[in-house]
Symmetry: C2
Subunit: 185 residues, 2 copies
């Protein structure tokens, strides 16, 4: 049961966002820029980073909804999302993304766990400064979102179809737009 | 040495914020609303929560600058800030703030570490839903900022006077305004 009486029909981060729209607005803007803005990393790759970090932080709502958005962007390939969460080194993604996922996982443990060797490996596989920056900030942002969602003990639907439907809406409209409509992700 | 070549004169979060102003803007808006917006928790109390979380996450830049801003709001009482970081149960702060600091520390460990008993204790000492919400979100936001700052291996000045001067500017102008001037906190 959530620690605060949020509207019961809103799972995950949507309850606290409806409760406090003033903070939801910049939070969604930040997520939209990072996950959906112009970038040399594809939306699918960036959602995979968000999903992986949320999985490392054991946040069921975030890893499931962002996993569904990632799969939506990646031609519905839900098996790839599962593989990235389980063991990304074995996943069918680029060496660059593997190096960035390693950086993201270390960021989730704590900023000081990101080593110069992690960064050098990402650069060796072609990662730019901006891609490295955004990977670390995406990981940091999801360390925030995961704690926001679970620190308030919000609930998460069980039905995978719920997340697939919601992911299609997010992919079409974005996080801010859906929140402004009173239906944050 | 920072993992990316930021402007060398900008320590801590100011380097990455100058590098990526698009994400700095909503990030600073979020921090301004949470730490400086209208609230039943004073700016000093909210900065203490930010400082405590940054201390738990061992982020030198964030705990020092926000500790300096907290002290600025609290009549220059730097000893109180040190005491809150060391052992807040012994600090001269309200029982409500102690209960909120406990929630913030647990949020830093991970969202699932916040228990119903933590929330009940805060309510018993008079904390409102909004104060509980904001405490958890402030803690979550600083788990983000700390990872952003340390994940990129930014540098932190040693001179306490640097932080005192900067804190006075932040207290007067806020985080967003200073960033827009090209001199984020």
């Amino acid at each position: 049961m959530p620690h605060i009486d949020f509207p019961p029909e809103l799972p995950g981060i949507r309850g606290p966002m409806a409760f406090r729209p003033d903070t939801a607005r910049p939070l969604n803007e930040l997520v939209d820029i990072l996950l959906r803005g112009p970038n040399t990393l594809s939306p699918g790759e960036r959602e995979l980073i968000a999903t992986y970090v949320s999985s490392r932080n054991d946040c069921r709502y975030c890893q499931t909804i962002h996993g569904a958005v990632a799969a939506h962007h990646l031609h519905g390939d839900e098996a790839l999302v599962v593989c990235v969460k389980d063991d990304f080194e074995r996943a069918a993604v680029s060496d660059k993304l593997k190096a960035l996922l390693a950086i993201a996982g270390n960021t989730a443990q704590g900023g000081r766990y990101v080593t110069a060797a992690d960064i050098a490996l990402a650069r060796q596989h072609g990662a730019s400064d901006l891609e490295i920056h955004d990977t670390i900030l995406i990981a940091a942002v999801f360390c925030m979102c995961n704690r926001y969602v679970d620190g308030l003990a919000t609930w998460a639907p069980d039905d995978p179809e719920f997340y697939r439907r919601r992911a299609a809406l997010i992919a079409e409209h974005g996080y801010s737009a859906l929140t402004i409509q009173g239906a944050a992700r």
